[in-house]
């Protein structure tokens, strides 16, 4: 029905719904309160929020940290599928394509779990069926014995050709990093194709994807520079953003960290990212850089959603905010479980 409707009303409807949902997300001061709680108190606390249904449903099967983790994953998957259901027309095409990154994440988790011989129940706990591969299909994959069998079962899905091409090499090498790079490169290439297909609202989606690609490339550059073991990084970079792959390679070889950051600042005109890069000058840990970049990306997404209030932006911003709420809650719960200090946990939060 939504597709048959014309005019801006369906966009306004869904954007308002996502804005209301965004307003319901946990505010930063709640995270500060949770840092002083025990695991049981955190469970009780999130039971009083949007996670009540999942906590009640899973309370009989899980307890402690497992209950929190599984409830968060279920809630995230349910929320994403719900957003997809209420999204009209071309927005649905964009959102559906964007949510495919959960398929990649799930398949890689599954393959890595199978490679390490983990039992299906353990792998299932960390899967988030928020993409096009639903719970039933993921359960089928979980029942397979080996990574090769998992790859074979993927036949008929978008991921099959790359997984099938890379699986023997990955199993032989014992690492799925090359496959991961290839899957994400194909994923972003697909998103860029959809954004440039001439659909209504495609230009806004394109700007969002390019920002995502830029931040991913910058993050990877920082990580690679910290490791300093690769000569040629071209195959690890995602093309299609503001930087060409050659440009990224040139930046990678800059010796001085501050000079590298300044070069990035000159090219990256997005203000929140520029500010985040400025704050990264001097000695900073890789983790802080990661969190700083994610924060700047979210800030820029917020700005974009205010410039285009009835476009794909408010929906994508909500999806990302929700994702990081789950990441934050998981970080707090895991941190508490491992007896980490409140300051250490706070540094991992994306607020």
């Amino acid at each position: 029905m939504a597709q048959a409707m014309s005019g801006p009303a369906p966009y306004i409807y869904v954007c308002t719904r996502t804005r209301v949902r965004k307003a319901k997300l946990l505010p930063p001061e709640e995270y500060a309160r949770m840092l002083n709680m025990s695991i049981h108190e955190i469970t009780r606390f999130i039971e009083e929020t949007e996670y009540k249904k999942e906590i009640d449903e899973l309370g009989t099967s899980f307890s402690g940290i497992d209950l929190i983790e599984t409830a968060l994953s279920w809630n995230l998957a349910k929320e994403y599928q719900n957003i997809l259901d209420i999204t009209p027309g071309t927005l649905k095409v964009f959102i559906k394509a964007y949510l495919r990154h959960w398929d990649i994440q799930n398949i890689l988790t599954l393959l890595r779990g199978k490679m390490q011989g983990l039992r299906p129940g353990k792998i299932k706990e960390v899967l988030i069926p928020a993409g096009s591969l639903d719970r039933v299909f993921l359960d089928r994959l979980l029942m397979e014995e080996t990574p090769e069998r998992v790859a074979e079962t993927l036949k008929g899905t978008d991921l099959y050709h790359i997984v099938n091409r890379e699986i023997s090499r990955a199993v032989e090498a014992g690492t799925f990093s090359h496959m991961e790079n290839e899957l994400y490169k194909e994923f972003y290439a697909g998103l860029l194709d959809i954004a440039r297909a001439g659909l209504k609202g495609g230009s806004q989606f394109l700007s969002f994807i390019q920002l995502d690609i830029d931040i991913t490339n910058i993050r990877n550059l920082f990580r690679l520079r910290a490791d300093q073991f690769v000569e040629n990084i071209r195959s690890m970079m995602i093309p299609g953003g503001s930087f060409s792959v050659d440009e990224l390679q040139q930046m990678y070889v800059i010796k001085d960290q501050n000079e590298f950051i300044e070069t990035l600042q000159k090219r990256m005109t997005v203000k929140p990212v520029q500010e985040a890069l400025e704050a990264m000058k001097g000695a900073r840990s890789g983790h802080e850089i990661d969190v700083g970049l994610t924060r700047s990306q979210l800030e820029q997404m917020e700005r974009m959603s205010k410039i285009n209030p009835f476009s794909v932006h408010p929906i994508l911003v909500y999806l990302e905010r929700k994702r990081y709420e789950v990441v934050n809650l998981r970080a707090i719960a895991r941190g508490k479980e491992s007896n980490l200090s409140a300051d250490r946990i706070r540094a991992c939060l994306v607020i």
Binding site: P8, P10, Y13, C15, T16, R17, V20
Partner: protein, 86 residues
């Protein structure tokens, strides 16, 4: 009186009837055009109101109030139409 464009001689009755007709057209346009304006304004507000009420039922009253605010435009149109006709 002679209508210069058509060359038809208009009697006083014809002029009066024409004026009444013009008034009726004006009244119709006042209501019709303001109705379209109200509809356009309510389309966006209504869509947002339904979205907000779907997420939070407490917002229903406020959402309804916001949705009917553009009704004032069509009421102005109606008042103008009534002033024209009576």
């Amino acid at each position: 009186m002679v209508d210069v464009t058509t060359g038809v001689v208009m009697t006083e009755e014809m002029i009066k009837a024409s004026q009444v007709g013009m008034k009726a057209i004006g009244a119709g346009m006042a209501v019709g055009l303001t109705g379209i304006g109200t509809g356009l304004a309510e389309m966006s507000i209504g869509a947002a109101a339904v979205g907000a009420a779907a997420e939070n039922k407490d917002m229903f009253g406020l959402a309804l109030l916001f949705t009917v605010i553009p009704e004032t435009i069509v009421i102005f149109g109606l008042v103008v139409a009534l002033l024209l006709l009576f």
